[in-house]
Symmetry: C2
Subunit: 174 residues, 2 copies
């Protein structure tokens, strides 16, 4: 017999971004569960570039950090904390040696972006909606779908490492 | 006594990009010298992202490839050759281990973009103006100034490696 579980989910839509308050299952201490961004912000691939990066090890990717207009303005002005409405996107692709370059040099020389990898991640600033995570809503989407709660839960704790930069790892590259 | 050398330079301004025909010094065979883009296309830092890359060895940088609207349209549609007016920009920054990440992992893990490095490069498509280099004008600017003729001369021969992709190394990253 299948068990049917009903879960109450509060859905809030503001400024084109939809978030939900995760059910507080297993949380006996009454603390609010983390809240996530559950819809991919539209048009993010057209946003301007903040910076680029490469992750080694298991991630092994090349990545780009893009920002919407509110985010780009904040990065360029260097003002912290980021204003409400700022959204930062992290795209990533596989880390591939460029064939033509490797042939010319006789060894790997140029590494270029291959197919998408490691999902697409977002940070959305809304000091009210995401008050429990210091004003940022975090999210990862794999093939267009929200990643598991286990994955989403890792965002905030890792970004807390750079709380002094309002939880943002990347700096703007001129 | 200083030698004063007069050089005849033909300056042409089309579509916001200024090019010049390099003096044909030392060219006895009558062939046209390569022509270069001599002014940085305005607003390029606001262009959309084509892709990202990492160069090893002496270059040792992280780079982003941006495109103006004409270029982005061509990349997304996958049509070759690129239309006149397409401009591709290559920005690069030093390849730096992110301190916070290295501390957390106990080894270099995240490489981020540091200060600008290796100049800014452009490819400008104009099949008439740059007919002698298969329709592309190439340029590198170091600290806002055109690089030496020796440097500029390396662009076309290297990009000829990917003539089949209309001289463009990078592919569009979705």
């Amino acid at each position: 017999m299948r068990r049917i579980v009903f879960v109450l989910v509060a859905v809030v839509a503001v400024g084109g971004v939809v978030a939900y308050v995760a059910p507080a299952s297993g949380q006996a201490d009454g603390e609010a569960a983390p809240i996530y961004v559950i819809k991919i912000p539209s048009g993010y691939r057209d946003w301007r570039l903040i910076s680029v990066a490469h992750e080694e090890g298991k991630l092994n990717d090349l990545r780009a950090i893009l920002g919407n207009d509110v985010a780009i303005k904040a990065f360029r002005e260097g003002k912290l904390p980021y204003s409400n409405g700022a959204i930062i996107a992290r795209l990533a692709w596989s880390y591939d040696s460029l064939e033509e370059s490797e042939k010319a040099f006789g060894r790997p020389q140029s590494f270029v972006a291959g197919p998408p990898k490691n999902g697409v991640q977002f940070m959305v600033k809304d000091s009210t909606k995401y008050a429990s995570t210091d004003g940022w809503g975090f999210a990862q989407f794999d093939d267009g779908k929200p990643a598991s709660e286990a994955v989403q839960n890792t965002c905030f704790s890792c970004h807390a490492t750079v709380k002094g930069r309002d939880f943002v790892f990347n700096r703007y590259s001129p």
